[in-house]
Symmetry: none
Subunit: 430 residues, 2 copies
């Protein structure tokens, strides 16, 4: 214990410049990509700030990031040749460094532009090229320039308050290689070496609401497990709860203790202890079998989900989207008497649909979904969201469910496909 | 001119809370959506700041936004029942307002949770529910609560410096309706009324690349239309190009001139002049008809798309997802000889599948899709992305297409469903 040095966590920020990102014209891919890179290095990403191409907004963003004590700020974009590309200049102002012409860089950019001009479909004016070239070769004094991947050089600029600013270009195919180059530079290396890499795992739950999970976490803590050593984030995503746990080496035992405690408390719903998705799990369980589907309200969403996994043709024979009663009778052989007596949305018809799919596709496993997706068509007995599921195997296995699924039309349809996946999992792990 | 008052621009910021967004676990959809909403209201979005679920980061973010003089900050997320959901508390601290229990809100949330508990597949502990409930009903004193769409109420909180904080939940399907409610509240209305609203329209294109559209815009400008009066954004979205045009009252004539000029230049591909989507258009064209589908590589995505429109059962009979050759033969009556001679992915089999769908579903219109979605299964003659489409009507109308669609497996599958929608449109408008 005496030898162990408590490391202070290293924190970074990403400052995205670009009116086109802010106006939702393009989606920022650099923020998420850099987030993953930083996390893998054990650096905590404190925030991502997206600002327009205005000098004032950029400058106030840098000041804000300095004020919250970040070790590293990565700016993306604003390094091009046009007037609204002003990152180098603003970072120079922020770090109180004069812009000076880097002649070596100027020559390098000139060579790149000459190559570019030769292959360009339009004739480029030399005067415009030279001005652009010179602008891009202006570097804050004392900064470390990074060679262009496209035409724009990057920069590493030490700030007065100890915060280093890494200036990268906006296009991901330029930013990504330049990031790797930057990692080799002493100014950046010094930061990454202070960081401690984090371990992590992910759990997935289906059927337990977040509120109940919150209660479990509080109780597990009350039982004596020091969860404060871990970073636990829970996230409701597409109808399931994802639990991400991040921890430093010293907290491995606590992290494993939490995994076990959650598993014990939620054995029925905590279906993935290692991050495996339900889609991967069902694909694995179907290996060596043949699946046939009969869908009404989910109308192809389940088939699309099953076949989203490459190689699905090895275990998926096909499906019928039986949106009309005629289709249920004609393509799945559902008895008209059942449809008349119980209605198209009933456990009885669901069973007949599953039987039909098993037979028509000559399958080993089948599953049917029939329900009321709304907005119309509901009744007191069978409200909007009432969905009947029936799963069966050719050797006599059966599983059914008849929940009322909350939400609007597309929620009900998508949730139906998800419930069906879990019913398949339960059927095949019996 | 003397009477016209130059309005000061109204500026807003979006503060996204969520470690899961910051760690790139989920993609933030709220920032871009709110950006579009604000722009439509004539409010300038100054920045989007994404922070982790830590009180300090959230608080410093709010202080930063106040320091740059914003009129409105919209926070998203952090309103759930777990301990890392702390937006309401931090906004209370920022605006120097004590948290007080809103009893009416507590009752409303309790009623929502009781409904939820009734339909849950697992039994929920009342203690957990009550604690979660009470936490979500704690409101900064003097704030205006907004009724929950899910279980979390929103808030409008006036700050001391004149900046109003609008607190919205993270899930888009809760945030979007609550945003509309908030617009009716006096505190928000007062801000939106200070902004000058923009007029706008949206065009949709399929089949023209963005670069060609950019060239058209330059040429239209060179022909004398002063496009600089308009705010034109083009965006490649789900395989189509969306063109948004925003303009102030004085520029109406120019905006209409642009709509007309684009229509003349791209008559074949500019299919929507008023923002109507292809899905809405096809649903309209199918009114009074019955559609049957036969899908291989799109595997239900087309059926799911057709039925995403409420009331689809009026014109959609059903579909077969014929993933195996057996299914093509057994369920669609495709001749085994055709499969042997031309292969499952061929114009000949596509035609037989469409005929089978027309007959089996007793339909007036049918469409088939069969292709190679990859990653495996391609050949020199039939590479990955080669997809055969065949659309027909019972009275002899026919349309075919056999493109090679670029991209990965899911691009090819989704693009197949989109191409099929446009083929239906062309068939039915012939």
């Amino acid at each position: 214990m005496a030898e162990e040095i408590q490391k202070k966590s290293v924190r970074a920020g990403v400052l995205v410049t670009g009116t086109e990102v802010l106006t939702a014209t393009i989606v920022d891919r650099n923020g998420p990509w850099l987030s993953e890179q930083l996390t893998a290095l054990g650096i905590e990403l404190a925030e991502i700030l997206i600002v327009a191409d205005h000098a004032d907004d950029l400058l106030s963003g840098l000041r804000h990031m300095e004020s919250i004590g970040l070790d590293l700020v990565i700016t993306t974009g604003g390094l091009g040749p046009t007037a609204d590309d002003l990152t180098a200049e603003v970072v120079g102002r922020f770090t109180e460094r004069e812009l000076v012409l880097d002649r070596e860089m100027e020559d390098r950019i000139a060579a790149i532009l000459a190559r570019f001009a030769k292959t360009s479909p339009v004739k480029l004016a030399p005067a415009g090229l030279n001005a652009a070239n010179r602008k891009q070769a202006m570097v804050p004094e004392g900064a470390v320039p990074l060679d262009p991947v496209g035409t724009a050089p990057g920069l590493i600029v030490p700030g007065s308050g100890g915060m280093v600013v890494l200036v990268l270009p906006g296009p991901p195919r330029e930013l990504q290689p330049m990031w790797r180059t930057a990692l080799e530079e002493p100014l950046i290396k010094e930061i990454t070496e202070r960081a401690t890499q984090l371990n992590s795992y992910r759990l997935r739950m289906f059927g337990t609401p977040e509120s109940e999970l919150a209660l479990s976490l509080r109780e597990i803590e009350a039982d004596g497990l020091d969860i404060s050593q871990l970073e636990v984030t829970t996230c409701l995503r597409k109808g399931e709860v994802e639990i991400d746990v991040r921890y430093r080496d010293g907290a491995t035992e606590t992290a494993e203790g939490l995994r076990e405690a959650l598993h014990m408390r939620h054995e029925r719903t905590l279906y993935s202890l290692d991050g495996t998705t339900i889609d991967e799990m069902v694909a694995g369980l179907l290996k060596g079998r043949r699946l046939g589907l009969a869908e009404s309200c989910s109308a192809g969403l389940l088939a699309a989900r099953i076949t989203n996994v490459p190689g699905a043709s090895g275990h998926f024979a096909g499906g019928v989207v039986s949106y009309s009663n005629e289709a249920k009778a004609e393509l799945l052989g559902v008895d008209q008497g059942l449809l008349d007596e119980f209605g198209a949305v009933s456990p009885e018809v669901a069973r007949a649909m599953a039987e039909g799919a098993l037979e028509r596709f000559d399958a080993d496993v089948s599953l049917s979904v029939t329900g009321i997706a709304g907005p119309g068509g509901g009744s007191e007995e069978k409200p909007v969201g009432f969905v009947c599921f029936h799963a069966m195997t050719s050797d006599g296995g059966e599983r059914t469910l008849t929940p009322v699924i909350p939400g609007g039309r597309s929620d009900i349809r998508e949730r139906s496909a998800l419930v069906a996946m879990h019913l398949l999992r339960l059927l095949l792990t019996d």
